[in-house]
Amino acid sequence: MIAEDTMEILYERAQEEWDKIENNTLPVVFVGSATCGRAGGALETEEIIKNLLIQNKKYAIFVEVGCLGLCVLEPIIMVQPTEGLPICYGPIRPENAEEFVRRVFIEEGVWEEKLIGVMSTDVYRGLPPISKHPMLELQVRNVLRNCGLIDPENFYHYLAHNGYRGFLKSLNIGTDAVLEEVKKSGLRGRGGAGFPTWKKWSFARDTSADIKYLICNADEGDPGAFMNRSVLEGDPHSVLEGMLIAGYTIGARYGYVYCRAEYPLALRRLEIAIQQMYEHGLLGKNILSSGFSFDITIKKGAGAFVCGEETALITSIEGHRGMPRPRPPFPTNSGLWGKPTVIQNVETLANVTLILQRGADWYVQYGTENSRGTKTFALAGKIKRTGLVEIPLGIPLRKVIFDVGGGILDDKEVKAVQTGGPSGGCIPADMLDLPVDYESLTKAGSIMGSGGMIVLDEDNCMVDIARYFLSFTQAESCGKCTPCRVGTRAMLGILERICAGKGEFADIIRLETLAQTVKQGSLCGLGQTAPNPVLSTLRYFRHEYEEHIKSNECRAFVCGPLISYHIDPERCVGCTMCAKACPVKVISGKRKEAHVIDQETCIRCGQCLRVCPAMYSAVYRRSGSRVRYEPIKERKKKTG
C-alpha cells in the first residue's frame, strides 16, 4: 500500500506555500538567476534593487528563479504586483536598476521600453502577453514549463506544480503500465542518438541481475550547448522525478547523476533537491511504503567531452580514466560495475516526468509520427534572438531560424545551419524547409544531437567551420582507438593546410578517405561522428574547399593567409592612419597622397583595415578573384 496520505499532506503544504506567492500582499520579484542571468549581472541587479527598495521604504518578496530562455534579454526580472498579473522585463542590467525601481515601484507604472510581456495568454490592460512574444509564440514549453517561474530550491514550489504526481501515478499503475505509457508516447532519447526510451528500459528490465543502475547523463559537453544546464538550474526536481520513474520501472536500486563540474550552480541545486527528496521520503529505503528503494548520488565529471559517451561515463564513475569500451555487451546488460545500467539524458528524464504526469495521449499531440514531443535547442550564431528554445519536433528549420530566432543578424544571407554540436553537420540554406526531426536531420548528413543549433551566414567560411569543430573533437578524443586518435589529427592537419592556402586537390580525396575510415572504424560515437562537420561541408560546400585550393580564395574572408590587403587609390586621402598602425611598416605613401601596401612584406594582420576611417574605407581585401570593400559611412554630424 502506498503511503499516499503522507504525500497529500505535502501537497497541501505546497499549495499553501505557492498561495503566498499567488495571493501576495507584497509585490513578488522573480529574478532570472540561472547561470545565463548571472552572467548578465542578475545578482548585481537584484542587490541594487533590494537596497533601493529599502531606501525608499518599499518592500517586496524576492524569488530567484531559473531561465526563461530569452538569452538576448537577460537579466530578466518579473514583477508580480499585489494586484493583477505578473509583468516581465528585460534586460535589466545593474545600470538599469535604479530607473527600474523608480518606474515600477515608486511610480508604480510600467516601464514599456523594457517590457517583454505580461504573464497571460491575451492582451491584459493594454499590455502584450508574453506568450505572443515573437521568440516564444512558436515555442511549446513543456520540458521548460517551470523554468523561470518557480524557485528551483523550493521543494514545495515544484510540488505545487504537479510535482511527483507522475511518480505517484507510476507507483499506482505498476511498472508494466509505465513502460506501456512510455512506449505509447514514442519518446526517444534526447542525448543525440534518438534510441527509443521504452526499448532501452525493457532491455534492462528483462535482465535478472540483483542490482541495476540508472544514470542521468548531465555531462553536457557540446560547445555552446546549455539545454540540460537550464533544466537542472531551473527545475531540478522534474529530472529527479524522471529518475525515480525510470529507476522504479527498470528495477534499479541506485541512481547516479553524472554532471560536469563546470556546472556549479546546477550541481548545487541538484544537491539541494536530492537532500529535499531524502527529507520528504522520496529517496532511500522503501519509498512511500511502496517497497521500492532508490538512492541517488551525484558524480562530478572532470570536463572530458568523451565522458558524455555512455561507456566512457560508466568507466569514469567506476573511478577509471574515462575511455569508452566496445559494445556489445551493451550497458543495459553489463554496465556500471558489470550490472545492467540505463543511461538517460537529462531532457529525456524530464520528458518522462511529463509523460507520466499528463499521460502519453496528451504527449503525442506534439511532434511527428517518428519523432514525438518537443525538443530544446540552444539557438546561437549569426541570429537576432539567441537563446534556449523548445519547439515541437517536425517544424521546419526555417521557422526556427526566422520566426523564433528572428532571422539573421544585420539581415545578411543565411548560409547554413549547423546542428548537433561538434558531431553534427551543416545544413545548407536551400534545405531550410527540412523538418526538424531525427530522421530528416540524419538524412541531410547532420544529427539532432543534444540540441545545438548554430546559424551561419555569408561571413562564415565553411572550411574554417569544419576545421573549428574538428579541432574540438580532435582535442577531446580520448586517445584509445586508432582511427579517432590519429585520423582526426590527420584530418585537422589537412584542413589547417587548406585554410592556410597550402592545400592540394589530392587533399580533398585524402580528407574523404580519412573521414570514412574514422567514421567506420572508430570505437565510440565521438569518433564515429567526428568527421560529420567535414563530410557535410564537403557534401554541400565542396566548391568552397576547391576555391581555397585552386585559387587561394576564401569567399567569406575568414582564412587569414588567403586574404591580401590593398588600398584603393580612388578612396585613399592619405590620412596616414594605416601607415602609422602598420606593425611591420610596409605601407608607403606621402601625406595626402594615396598609400600603397607592399604585398611582398605584408604580414596580413589586417591592422590597416581596422584603422582606416569608415568615412573613407579605402582599405579593401582581396581573396582569389574576390574583392571586398567596406561600406563608406558618412561621418556622424556632431549634435550640439
Binding site: V306, P328, C481, V486, G487, G493, Q528
Partner: protein, 843 residues
C-alpha cells in the same frame, strides 16, 4: 551454439568472442591490441568484422558470439578499412621502412637490427624480428603512408632498471596497461593525457619504482612493438631455442621459458597468464649466467697460486687431496639450490666413497642467504658447492675443494676450484616449497669448462673407487634411481609469487653470492630503494658559458638535429687548420673509450673548430652524444685519411643519407668552388629525419630531398631521384655516395651499368687510423685496402659490399654485451667524465 563465419557453420562456445571462435577454427582475422591473456579492449580496430544485423563494423575481439550470428571476416570493404586504419596507426610509428620498396633487399643485406638509441625505422629496431606490426602490415598490404607521419619527439627512457622505453614507437594498444592491472592489481603505468598526445606513463611523472613497479616485466612480454624492451635481451635478435624450465632462485619454483641464442641465455619470461614472475625470474637469469665473472676453468693451488688446469687434472688433484681425509675427517656442504640429483650424488659420495656421516644440506633463509658455521671439530677436508662457509673458518681445514660459479674469498683460498653449471644450464629436478617435484631442463650451455655439480663429484668418485662407483651416464639415470617418475612444471599456481607483488620479498643471494653483484639492474633497484628515487630525474643540461680560450677538444655546441643524430662543434684548432674535404678524425670520449672515426662535416680555420655529425649506434657513440657542452673529449686525432681530390669533374651528384648528409657539406662546397655543378640529393626515411636542408642548398647548385615515405620531397632513396634525373637527360660525370653501407651498396649496384664513376666513403671498424693495425681492411677490386689511409673514398663499383657488412658485424656480440647493462645514471648521463681535467673547476 552455431555461428556462420565466412559461409562456414561452426560451433561456438558460450561466452567466447568472434575472434576466439574464428581462431579456434583456423579462420584468421588480423588483430593487434588483443592478447590471449588479457580482457578485450577494442582499441586498435584492426580485427573488425561484419556481422549481419549489427550496425557498422564491430571488433571481433570484443563481440561475444550469439546463436545464429552470420559473420564475414574478409570482405573487400573490411580489407580496405583495416589497411586504412593500420595506415593511420603508422602515422604515429616510425613506419617508412614498412612502405620502402627496397624492404626485402634491406632485410637480406642487414638481417640484424642495429644498436641505436632512438629507433627511427625497422632496421634499427630491436623488435624487428618479432614485430607484430611488421607482420600485420605485410598481411594487409600496406604500401603507402597517407599523410606526413607525426613523430612525437619523446626522449627515450633508459634510466629505469631493466626496462627501456621508446614511446615514439608506441601504438597505444594498451596491452602493457592491461597486463599491469591484471598482474599487479594496480596501474603502475596507464594512459596519460588525451587525443594525439596520449601516451603511456606513470602518474605525475614518477619513475617506475616510485609508481610501485615491481619489475615483473610482464609489460615487456606483451608489447607488440619495440616500445618496451628488456635492455639486456633487446639486441640479441630472434631466439633460436626456447626451453620451458623451473626457476630455482627460490622455492616458489615458477615455470619459466628461457630464450637462448647460440646456446646463450638471453631472456626469460614467466609462463603464466594470470601471474607475473618476480624481477629475478624475468631479468636476473641471463645476465647472471652470462656474467663475464663466471668461473670458466678448473684451478688448482700450486705454491700458493691458483693455476688453471683441465677438469681431469682438477678432479685428479681432488682425489689425491681427499685420500688422507676419509671418514669423519671429511664433510660435504651444499645447499638446496643444487638439484635433487646433484644432492643424491653428493650424499652417496660422502657416505659410500668418503664414508663420512658429515653430509650437510643448508636451507637458505628468506633472502636466499645460506651460511654454514657448525662444522664438527674433526673435519679437516671439505667440498663446498657455493661460498657458504665464513672465511674465518678457512684455517680449520687442510683441504678445501670448491665447486662454484663465481670467484669469492672462499674460492680464492681453496685448494681446488671446479667451475660448475647451474640453473638453466643443467637438467634435473627440484623440490618446491610445497614439496612438489619440479623439473629443471637444460636451456643453454654453461660457460667454459663448467660441468654439472653431480658430474664433477662423480669424476672424483670414479678416481677413488673405479670399481665400486656405479657410473651414471646421464642425469636421467639419477632421477630414475631417486624414484621420480613425473615432474611437472608449476603451471597452476593459485597465488602470485610473493616477490612478484612486493619487490622487497625478492631473494638476494644464490649459492653464497650476492645476485646484484652480477645483475646491473638490481643495483639500480637498490639505489632507488635506498632513497635516491626522490631526486630530480630530469636530464641536467647546465647552462654553460664557453670560455674565450676553450680547452683542447672542448665541446662548444651540441644539438640534436633529428632523432638519434647529433651535431657537435669541437674546439680543435690544429685539425681545423690542416683539414681537407673528405678527411676524418678519430675520437676517444674518455681514456677508456673505443677509438671511433667520424667524418669531418665542416671546420672553421679561423675559429679553430671542427663540426661532426654523429649518430648513436652502440656504446661509444652513446658515450659521445652524452657529452655536454663545455666538457672535453679525451682525444681527437686527425685529420686522417686521403682527402677527396678536388678538381673539375663536370656535374657531380652527391648522395647523402643518415649521418652522411652532415658529412658532405664541406665536400660539396669545395667541389662547387672548383666549378663543378653539384647536385645534392639528401635521403631520409621520413620528413622528421631530414636535416641540413638550408646548409646543403647553400653549398650546391641543385638540392633534392627524398624520403622513403614521400612525406617530404620526392619518394624513395637518393638513387631513385638520381635515376629520375638521368631520365630527364641530365648528364652526370661523378657520383659520390656517403651514408650507411646499405645506401652505398644500392647506389653501387644500381649505377653499375651506367658508365658513371661512383665513389663511396667507407667506414669500417678502425683502431689506429694510420694504416698499422689493419682493422679497417677491406677489399676493393680484389685488392686489400686500408680504409684509414687508402680511403675513405673508394670506387663503389669495386667494393666487396658483403665483406664490408660482415666486418662491421665482427664484434656484434661484444657490442651487444657492452650496451646491454643497466647503466647507473651516474656513469653515463650527467656525471662528469674527466676527473683529471681542469674543466671540472669551472664555476
Amino acid at each position: 551454439m552455431n555461428v556462420v563465419i565466412d559461409g562456414k557453420t561452426v560451433e561456438g562456445r558460450a561466452g567466447e568472442t568472434i575472434l576466439e571462435c574464428a581462431l579456434r577454427y583456423g579462420i584468421s582475422i588480423p588483430h593487434l591490441c588483443t592478447h590471449p591473456a588479457l580482457p578485450p579492449f577494442g582499441a586498435c580496430r584492426i580485427c573488425i568484422v561484419e556481422v549481419e544485423g549489427m550496425r557498422g563494423y564491430p571488433t571481433s575481439c570484443s563481440t561475444p558470439i550469439a546463436e545464429g550470428m552470420v559473420i564475414r571476416t574478409q570482405t573487400e570493404a573490411l580489407r580496405l578499412l583495416r589497411r586504412n586504419i593500420l595506415g593511420l596507426m603508422m602515422l604515429e610509428h616510425p613506419s617508412a621502412c614498412l612502405v620502402c620498396e627496397r624492404r626485402d633487399l634491406c632485410d637480406k643485406y642487414r638481417p640484424k637490427s642495429e644498436k641505436v638509441g632512438a629507433t627511427t625505422g625497422c632496421h634499427t629496431c630491436n623488435n624487428k624480428e618479432v614485430c607484430e606490426v611488421r607482420e600485420l602490415s605485410a598481411d594487409l598490404g600496406l604500401a603507402e603512408i597517407m599523410v606526413a607521419p607525426n613523430y612525437h619527439y619523446k626522449p627515450i627512457e633508459r634510466s629505469e632498471p631493466f626496462i627501456d622505453r621508446d614511446l615514439n614507437l608506441c601504438i597505444l594498444c594498451g596491452r602493457c596497461v592491461r597486463i599491469c592491472k591484471l598482474h599487479q592489481g594496480k596501474s603502475v603505468i596507464d594512459f596519460v593525457h588525451r587525443s594525439s598526445q596520449t601516451h603511456i606513463g606513470q602518474a605525475f611523472g614518477k619513475n617506475l619504482h616510485e609508481a610501485g613497479c615491481t619489475f615483473c616485466g610482464s609489460c615487456i612480454d606483451v608489447c607488440p612493438t619495440g616500445t618496451l624492451s628488456d635492455r639486456y635481451a633487446k639486441w640479441f635478435g630472434r631466439p633460436d631455442r626456447i626451453t620451458e624450465t623451473t626457476c630455482i632462485y627460490c622455492d616458489e619454483a615458477c615455470a619459466l621459458a628461457i630464450y637462448a641464442v647460440n646456446n646463450k641465455p638471453v631472456m626469460a619470461k614467466g609462463l603464466y597468464d594470470k601471474w607475473p614472475v618476480c624481477v629475478l625470474g624475468h631479468f636476473a637469469i641471463p645476465e647472471f649466467l652470462n656474467s663475464p665473472q663466471r668461473l670458466r676453468t678448473a684451478q688448482i693451488r700450486v705454491n700458493k697460486v691458483l693455476r688453471p688446469v683441465t677438469t681431469e687434472e682438477a678432479t685428479q688433484r681432488c682425489a689425491e687431496l681427499l685420500k688422507n681425509h676419509m671418514g669423519k675427517n671429511f664433510a660435504f656442504v651444499c645447499d638446496t639450490s643444487s638439484t635433487l640429483e646433484d644432492r643424491h650424488v653428493f650424499k652417496k659420495f660422502t657416505q659410500e666413497v668418503m664414508q663420512s656421516p658429515y653430509y650437510f644440506e643448508i636451507v637458505p633463509d628468506r633472502k636466499g642467504y645460506a651460511r654454514f658455521t657448525n662444522i664438527p671439530e674433526e673435519v679437516k677436508a671439505v667440498i663446498t658447492t657455493g661460498s657458504f662457509v665464513p672465511q674465518e673458518l678457512r684455517d680449520k681445514f687442510e683441504v678445501v675443494i670448491s665447486l662454484d660459479i663465481f670467484p669469492s674469498e672462499w674460492t680464492k683460498t681453496a685448494d681446488v676450484v671446479c667451475p660448475v653449471a647451474v640453473f638453466a644450464e643443467v637438467s634435473g629436478t627440484v623440490l618446491d616449497k610445497d614439496n612438489q617435484i619440479r623439473p629443471l631442463i637444460k636451456a643453454c650451455n654453461p660457460p667454459g669448462e663448467a660441468m654439472p655439480e653431480w658430474f664433477v663429484v662423480q669424476q672424483i668418485a670414479k678416481i677413488f673407487s673405479p670399481d665400486k662407483w656405479k657410473e651414471y651416464q646421464a642425469v636421467e639415470e639419477i632421477t630414475y634411481e631417486l624414484g621420480i617418475n613425473t615432474a611437472k612444471l608449476n603451471l597452476d599456481r593459485e597465488t602470485a609469487p610473493p616477490a612478484s607483488q612486493n619487490l622487497k620479498e625478492r631473494r638476494e643471494w644464490f649459492k653464497g653470492h650476492k645476485i646484484e653483484d652480477y645483475v646491473s639492474g638490481l643495483v639500480a633497484v637498490r639505489n632507488f630503494e635506498e632513497g635516491q628515487d626522490h631526486e630530480e630525474k630530469a636530464e641536467v643540461r647546465l647552462e654553460v658559458k664557453i670560455p674565450e680560450n676553450p680547452l683542447p677538444f672542448m665541446v662548444l655546441s651540441r644539438r640534436e638535429l633529428v632523432p638519434n643524430t647529433y651535431e657537435f662543434v669541437i674546439h680543435a684548432p690544429a685539425i681545423a687548420k690542416k683539414a681537407l674535404p673528405g678527411q676524418f678524425v678519430i675520437v676517444m670520449v674518455d681514456e677508456n673509450s673505443e677509438r671511433i672515426p667520424y667524418t669531418l662535416s665542416d671546420w672553421d680555420e679561423r675559429k679553430g673548430t671542427i663540426t661532426l655529425v654523429i649518430q648513436e649506434k652502440g656504446l661509444s657513440s652513446r658515450k659521445m652524444i652524452s657529452v655536454n657542452e663545455g666538457e672535453c673529449l679525451a682525444h681527437v686525432v686527425g685529420p686522417l685519411g686521403t682527402a677527396f681530390e678536388i678538381k673539375h669533374y663536370g656535374t657531380v651528384a652527391i648522395l647523402g643519407g643518415c649521418y652522411g648528409i652532415g658529412a658532405v657539406v664541406r665536400l660539396s662546397r669545395a667541389l662547387r668552388e672548383q666549378g663543378n655543378k653539384v647536385i645534392m640529393i639528401s635521403e631520409a626515411r621520413s620528413h622528421y629525419m631530414t636535416y641540413y636542408k638550408k646548409e646543403l642548398t647553400a653549398v650546391s647548385n641543385q638540392f633534392i630531398q627524398t624520403t622513403i615515405d614521400a612525406s617530404s620531397g620526392e619518394k624513395g632513396h637518393a638513387i631513385d631521384a638520381l635515376k629520375r634525373l638521368l631520365q630527364t637527360g641530365e648528364k652526370i660525370d661523378l657520383i659520390v655516395a656517403v651514408g650507411c653501407p646499405f645506401m652505398m651498396m644500392i647506389t653501387a649496384e644500381e649505377t653499375r651499368n651506367m658508365g658513371i664513376k661512383a665513389l663511396c666513403a667507407l667506414n669500417p671498424i678502425m683502431l689506429d687510423g694510420t694504416g698499422m693495425c689493419g682493422a679497417c681492411r677491406i677489399s676493393v677490386g680484389g685488392e686489400t685496402k686500408f680504409a684509414c689511409v687508402d680511403g675513405p673514398f673508394f670506387d663503389a663499383h669495386l667494393v666487396d659490399w658483403d665483406e664490408v657488412r660482415d666486418r662491421r658485424e665482427a664484434y656484434s656480440t661484444e657490442e651487444i654485451q657492452a650496451v646491454s647493462y643497466t647503466m647507473p645514471s651516474t656513469t653515463l648521463e650527467g656525471e662528469h667524465r674527466h676527473h683529471h681535467c681542469s674543466c671540472m673547476e669551472r664555476g
